[in-house]
Structure formats: C-alpha cells, structure tokens
Symmetry: C2
Subunit: 258 residues, 2 copies
C-alpha cells in the first residue's frame, strides 16, 4: 500500500523483550513497523543520551511489514538514530515506546527510559506514546495492555491531533474484562525513598544496590494516574516538557536581585 | 560552629572536574560541604538511575570543612546515596549541582545529568540549584560563574523559600565585569537535531557517534533563558516536575473514549 502508515517502535527493555513484541502487535494493524530498540536493558535511563561512546546498529529480524533493529545506546539514542539517520527520507506517523515491563506513572515518568524515548519522539513532528504495564515480570501477560493501548492509538491516529502530542499510558495488571476503562489523568505528586543494600565483594570492598519505595503524596486524589491504576483503570496522561515553574517566577524576582 | 549549614555538592562531570571545585567555592562560605560526585563523566545522563549494577563509594579528599567522595553511579545515584545512606542522620540545607562544563539552558534541562541531580535534590526537602557555565572546556574560567552563582545561593538561603524549590542557573562565558546581571527566565522552546558520524572499526563494523545542533524555536523571545545568555545575562529558571499537559486534557477526553 502506497499510503500505509509508518510506525516507529522502541522501548527501554531491549529489542528481544516480550513487551516490544506487544508494542509491535499494537502497531501492526495501523501500518508498517520499524523497531529500533536497545541492545541491552536500559531501564531507569530517563532521557539519557550517549555522548562519549560509538554506537552499533544491527538488523535483528525481518518479517512482512516488520523490521527490528538493535542499537547499542539508550532509548533516546534509538529515537535519534531512527529520525536522524535510518528514516531521514521517510515520514514517520507515530512513535510507540514500550510496552514497558513496569509502571511509569507518577514521578516514574522522569526516570523512565520508555518515557524518555516517547518524549524524544514527540520532538520529531509526530504523535508519540509511551506504553507501560504495571508488571515487571519478563513473562508478563500483555493481553489487556495490547487491547487498551490499541484503543488509545486508534483515538490518536483517527483524530490527526495538534502537535506536539506525547502520552504516558499505563495499564494495570488485570484480565482485559476486569479493566474498568480508560481515564485521562494528571501525574501523581510523589517521590522515591531509597534503601541501599550494602554488601562486600570478595576483595572486601563495600558495594551498594539501589532499592526503593514510592511515596504517593496524594493517594486519594481521583484525578491522578496512580489512583486510576489502583482502581482498575488504564491511566493516560498528556505530557509536556516545559519544566518552568511559572508560579514561582514573581517570588524569585523578589529573593534574587536581577 | 554548631549551627553551621550543611551543603551537598554533586555534578555530572565527575569528582575531579574543575567545575566541582568551583561549586565547592560557591558553597563553602555558606557552610560545611560534602561532595558526592560520579567516578567518571556522566554528561547527558538526565535523571538516570542505576538499577542493575552494584555501586562503589570512595572518600577521595578531605580538608577543613570539605569532604569529597566519588560514587560509581549516575548524578541521581549520588544524590540518593547522600540523602538515603551517608547523611541520613543530618539535615542538609542546600544541594548544589555543578558547576557544569556546558550550557543546560532550554531543552538541555531534560538531558542534563547536572539538572537530573538538582531535580532529585529538590525531592529531599531542601532548596536545590543546578549551576552551569556555557563553556565545555575542561579548563574553563569559572570566575564569573562563581560570583553570580554565589549571589543566587545567597538570595535563596537568606529567604527560607517555600519548598520544593529547584533552580536552573546558567552563566554565559564572559569576564565578571562584562555580565549585565541576572534574569529570571522561562525555559526556551526548542529541540536538538542530530547528525550521526558514521565510521568503520578495524573489523569493518559500522559505528556511529552522536553529534547535534540545537534549534531555538523562539530566538527573539526576551523572557527565555537562551535570550538572556545570548545577551550577556545570567539565566535563572525555576524548575518543577509535573509534566502533565493540562491544556490538552479536555482535548484528549474528546479523542479517547474514557
């Protein structure tokens, strides 16, 4: 088909993650798919870019309508490689990042490699959607996620939305029939508090593993993504990247002499 | 002094970068300094965290009022190590991240390890300030940056500001007497377009280096950080972390069936 859409798929769990296959399953009915995903897991890589290392690209798989490449950088590097090298002569209609193994709701949007790639995608003139399932299991069941992410993608592609458009979509762990529906939400206020496991290596050097717990600062706020997920809904948060705290500008003008 | 302030210093250029010393010079007149900075450069690491590797902490230097540690993780890992392990029994009064070798104005705030650490610091109940000089040179002249960053820090510490407070401070390359002053600004709209250098390694594998150019979408907007820097001012942007695009929520409710 001459007018078939082109959909770029990426993720942060790596090109051979089950969730990438689930994202391709979401994308395929809407057009051709080119997936460029990290060679190894890049969870927690946020919007990181690789500045001081050479990066390697490799075609890993091809089937009708689907090509899968691995790239040795971060999720954002994958998006840049797609738009600024591999697909420079083609129009990309949509970026899908995921489906992530694990939630990217609330403040996780800041740390997430999945959402780093989705945000980067939105800088290139097409809608960009990060997809996540709140289940870290490598063998997680993506059936409900595929069903609801497909609904979100259809809504976006059928509406020709004003750009930039970036969405953070999170699906709770449930059977498709148990999910109550989709809710358009805002990002929950909260933060992580860490506990460092301390151990010693065979050379008696102390080492630390990062582990933590999310603190939800507004657990009863029904318009938040965490509330939606906890109550059986798919959470969809529109994302923008102007971090300016406009409400504090006048205050700052009083405490810092211009 | 019993009531001496405690200031946490970190950066993304590494514990032995000249800019870390400049940040310590800013901090020292206001209190005791504990610096925990990455073992190696972490430029472009955004708000990345290390999930799947053990991390090593090492005291590198001590002098009156100043301790410097290296930590083998990202800038955000350094902040978490400080608050959630090393300093759990002490009150930290301020986080300073920098002084970065290179600008973190505009959309760079998203990719910057310096600002990743500053944002993380603001989650721990004290003011947090990212400091950057628009000069990538390892041997950059930080004199003007130290002078103006000191003014910003004084303004914040003397006002006991409402929290959370996170600032993105960028200083142009100039002699102190050439700088026209400080401007409270908003983040400039823009994005990066990349060019990938393609080369071949000795085994004939193609490899890529990321290189790019910033596209300023509003070069004449006088209230932006890029305009301030281009016109000889220090740019101070208040930063917040709710990425919700509130303006698009009603629109989304029309295109995606809840």
């Amino acid at each position: 088909m001459k007018n078939e859409r082109l959909i770029l798929v990426t993720n942060d769990d790596g090109y051979n993650a089950k969730g990438l296959r689930a994202a391709i399953e979401v994308a395929r009915p809407f057009g051709r798919v080119i997936a460029i995903a990290p060679e190894v897991t890049q969870s927690g890589m946020s919007q990181a870019i690789t500045m001081y290392k050479p990066l390697f690209l490799k075609k890993q798989h091809e089937e009708p309508g689907v090509e899968i490449y691995s790239f040795s950088g971060t999720p954002v590097d994958c998006v840049k490689m797609a738009f600024d090298y591999l697909l420079t002569d083609r129009k990309v209609d949509l970026v899908l990042s995921g489906i992530n193994h694990g939630s990217n709701a609330a403040v996780n949007v800041l740390y997430s490699g999945t959402m780093g790639a989705a945000i980067e995608g939105s800088f290139y003139g097409c809608p960009s959607i990060g997809l996540s399932l709140t289940d870290h299991d490598l063998d997680a069941d993506f059936e409900a996620a595929v069903k609801y992410c497909t609904e979100v993608v259809r809504g976006v592609l059928e509406s020709e939305p004003e750009l930039p458009l970036c969405l953070n979509v999170n699906v709770p762990v449930a059977r498709p029939e148990e999910i109550k529906g989709i809710r358009i939400c805002r990002q929950t206020k909260g933060y992580w508090r860490e506990e460092f496991y301390r151990r010693e290596d065979p050379h008696h050097r102390a080492y630390f593993w990062l582990t933590g717990e999310f603190v939800n600062q507004e657990p009863t706020a029904e318009d938040t993504d965490e509330w939606a997920l906890a109550n059986g809904y798919v959470a969809v948060v529109p994302v923008q990247v102007d971090l300016t705290d406009y409400a504090r500008m006048q205050y700052l003008k009083r405490i810092i002499k211009e």
